[in-house]
């Protein structure tokens, strides 16, 4: 008899999402993005292309930007995930969020959560990136509205605010 969703045994995982530890039982085939959106109801992480191209689903896994549509949720076991919902603290937007808002580094906003997290990883590793480093750091994120110029300005502004 072929295995179906009902017969695949679930596996226990422990994962800290935006600072809160979660103990969950999941199907081993579950993708990280589906864990976030469908299980934990954190719908700020968007699915764009679902083929590992566009980067809209970017989150930080143990501090590293990953495309959560191409990572199995079990790979987050024992780890920490940061999504767009975890950026603001006590009602105060994160400096990267503020910079994107102030520089109008978005139009429709669909790709923005992924850009915010990719920017955060970039600036944590390189507080003063030059233009080439910004382009390289955000090369895995696609925006179909802005033409990127305001996004680059936002990254620059965020870098200044975070230094």
């Amino acid at each position: 008899m072929p295995e179906t969703a009902a017969t695949i045994p679930r596996v226990p995982i422990r994962v800290t999402v935006n600072g809160a530890e979660q103990a969950l039982e999941i199907e081993p085939r579950l993708l990280l993005v589906d864990l976030l959106r469908e299980v934990l109801n954190l719908t700020g992480t968007h699915v764009g292309c679902d083929t590992s191209y566009c980067g809209a689903c970017t989150v930080l896994l143990n501090g590293a930007a990953v495309k959560s549509c191409t990572v199995l949720a079990v790979h987050a076991n024992g780890g920490e995930v940061l999504t767009v919902e975890g950026l603001a603290r006590n009602g105060e937007l994160h400096p990267v969020q503020k910079a994107f808002a102030e520089c109008q580094g978005l139009q429709c906003g669909y790709c923005t959560p992924g850009f915010l997290l990719a920017t955060l990883q970039l600036l944590r590793g390189n507080p003063s990136p030059d233009e080439a480093a910004v382009r390289k750091g955000l090369a895995g994120n696609t925006c179909r509205c802005t033409g990127y110029q305001n996004i680059f300005k936002a990254v620059e502004a965020a870098a200044r605010a975070m230094r």
Binding site: C54, G55, V66, K67, V71, L72, H75, K136, G140
Partner: protein
């Protein structure tokens, strides 16, 4: 475990190729054996004259490794694979085991002296990389065998290399790529040359005539042009959505020209930053 699960099981490394293939239903293994929790498989170390990469060493860790800075062609490769998100997950062992004709590591590692250390139910064996990849998506790996480690001989001081790809954008495979490693003798003449091309054949293509055009010569404009033309002739591209066969041959010539220039400067001790060309 792989042996017990049989033909329907696939090992899973970084998942940056296998997971998308499964989502497209182009791969539908009944079982995945996850290597990510196997301890000690992701190390990067140097022992005497050999760099040793655990199969699960991720592209981003290789990019950041100070050991790799000494072999610039390896850094060119690791830093240029896809985008930061993919480099954070994808692994060198997974890339070689997949043997995608558009993969970045094969042409680069073939331009160096590279061995693949394989482990399985029958024990360990070591395979030169040139023999390991036998065809598109095909390697010498037997059922239930895994890559454990990839070892690369550090080239001498008088050697320099460069890897350059042309890509429509970061997340996609390159349209064409060129890996060049040159070793100069005491007088600055090219003693040995290796030239491999990516994306223009079923496996990485060795441009032997381009190597012959460089060996024994001073690396000047005429030599570089001869090597570029020989590489153009060696490429066997197909026309596809990335470009026509003729266009790709032109691209190969241009990439080899630039890669030879940078490799020669690096062989002379110059520090040269190099990044891929994006459309």
């Amino acid at each position: 475990m792989l042996a017990a699960l049989g033909d329907e099981a696939r090992p899973l490394a970084g998942g940056q190729s296998l997971v998308p293939l499964m989502k497209l239903r182009l791969a539908a293994p009944a079982h995945l054996v996850d290597l990510n929790f196997v301890p000690g498989l992701a190390s990067i170390a140097r022992e005497n004259g050999t760099l040793r990469f655990g199969a699960l060493a991720r592209h981003a860790d290789i990019e950041a490794s100070s050991l790799v800075q000494q072999v610039p062609i390896l850094h060119d490769c690791a830093a240029g694979i896809a985008d930061v998100q993919v480099r954070n997950r994808g692994t060198i062992g997974g890339s070689l085991a997949e043997a995608d004709p558009s993969g970045d590591w094969a042409p680069v590692l073939l331009a160096l002296e590279t061995s693949v250390h394989v482990t399985g139910p029958q024990g360990e064996r070591t395979i030169p990389l040139a023999d390991f990849i036998t065809d598109a998506y095909t390697t010498q790996l037997a059922r239930a065998e895994l890559i454990r480690e990839i070892s690369v001989q550090v080239p001498p001081k008088s050697s320099g290399g460069a890897y350059l790809a042309f890509k429509r954008c970061a997340p996609v495979y390159a349209t064409a790529s060129a890996a060049v490693q040159l070793t100069l003798d005491a007088s600055g003449t090219c003693a040995q040359a290796r030239v491999f091309l990516g994306c223009v054949g079923l496996t990485a293509v060795r441009a032997a005539d381009a190597e012959a055009a460089l060996a024994g010569k001073d690396i000047g404009t005429k030599t570089i042009e001869a090597a570029a033309e020989a590489a153009r002739a060696a490429a066997e591209p197909h026309s596809d959505m990335r470009g026509s066969a003729e266009y790709k041959k032109d691209l190969v010539a241009a990439l080899v020209r630039r890669a030879v220039e940078v490799a020669a400067r690096r062989a002379r001790g110059e520090r040269v930053e190099l990044s891929h060309v994006y459309a």
